[in-house]
Amino acid sequence: MIHAAIKQVQRYKGWFGTAGGMCIIAGVYLGLVGSPPDYYQGEVVRIMYVHVPLAHTSLLGYSVLFASSLWYLWKRDPIVDNMCHAAASLSAFFTAGALLTGSIWAKPTWNTWWTWDARLVSFAVLFLILTGYLMLRTFIDDPEREARFAAVLAIVGFVDLPIIHFSVEWWRTLHQPLSISMRGVSISKDLLVPLIIMGIGFSVLFFYMLMVRTQMLYLANLLNAKKGRLLSHAHLSKAEP
């Protein structure tokens, strides 16, 4: 059932890639050319169009990781574990991108590469959790156990994220308020259009990358299983006198 569904989605994944890529291209054009500079931040505000979507996509990636980890513990299907692994790698990648672009943004805005600001610290901790997750996976030989432990770590980490964020926020708040908040749009419309287009583009592209990477891990497993079967045949025929 899961395999059939995933196969069905995989068939149309090219459209995701195309749509995501086109959104991002349009977003880059709008962000760099087609939008006015911000009144306060000037041209530097253009970094926001790539930084904020990266950050959101990394959180989206962790949410997908959380959901698929729960799914794995429920169904124990190896392809779901491939999806967890893929989501974690991608989320780690996007988190690193968000940290780097955030750092580049911080330099002209606050004249420092790094501040101990709540969101930056939360993202750094998120990055540490994800790299810990990826490290954990390399240290386990039995793939079943690897999948199980990784899923548990992902779930525990996900529950911890809001607590980490709150604690760090209480601990130190120097940051400007969130660019898009629930209380009202504090950002002008001209700036919002490229931001939303980039956000959609990154999210769609994330799902495309997720599918590609899941497929990659799945195929690699398939090939290894084949090699393993050949190997155990060789081993057993050697045991035969």
Partner: protein
């Protein structure tokens, strides 16, 4: 795999076009001239000139938005007549960018806007750091998938195994 390389080739072309558009936009609307550049070869279109407001030359009323000051580069100095929205934070000895046209007859720069000095290196750097590794990552991933497909076809995985027993 041919389709794969075609797709990425196409993406590369689009990226090149995008880079060209961005660079042209920068040249047209965002690049700064120094007072030396301006005096050496006065352009007729609107330009942006970067310089330092010379001490003791700022005259006019900040609130009204009609100001006159000297903007100096490394060697040359030009007179700027600013006529635009009121500026709150204009003061002497400040580095800024004036946007406007050079009036050769009055040997005055008629500015209609004053912009902040920005380092575009940061913007370009952030876009490159954000997007290039992403593309490379996706490229290697897709390539790996293609190679794995190929290898699986080669290893005849879907054919029944030879059981020796």
């Amino acid at each position: 795999m041919t389709g794969f390389y075609l797709r990425w080739g196409g993406l590369l072309v689009v990226a090149a076009i995008l880079a060209f558009l961005v660079a042209r936009n920068y040249e047209r609307n965002l690049a700064n001239l120094t007072p030396e550049d301006l005096l050496a070869d006065p352009p007729s279109r609107a330009v942006r000139v970067l310089g330092l407001v010379r001490g003791g030359t700022l005259t006019g009323d900040q609130a009204s938005g009609r100001l006159r000051f000297d903007l100096s580069g490394t060697r040359e100095t030009l007179t700027v007549q600013y006529d635009g929205p009121p500026m709150e934070n204009l003061r002497e000895l400040k580095t800024l960018v004036v946007v406007g046209r050079w009036d050769p007859s009055a040997r005055t720069f008629r500015a209609h806007d004053i912009a902040l000095v920005t380092n575009y290196g940061f913007v370009v750097g952030a876009y490159l750091v954000g997007l290039v590794p992403l593309a490379l990552f996706l490229f290697t991933m897709e390539r790996k998938v293609g190679l794995l497909h190929h290898e699986i076809k080669q290893s005849k995985l879907y054919e029944p195994e030879m059981m020796d027993a």
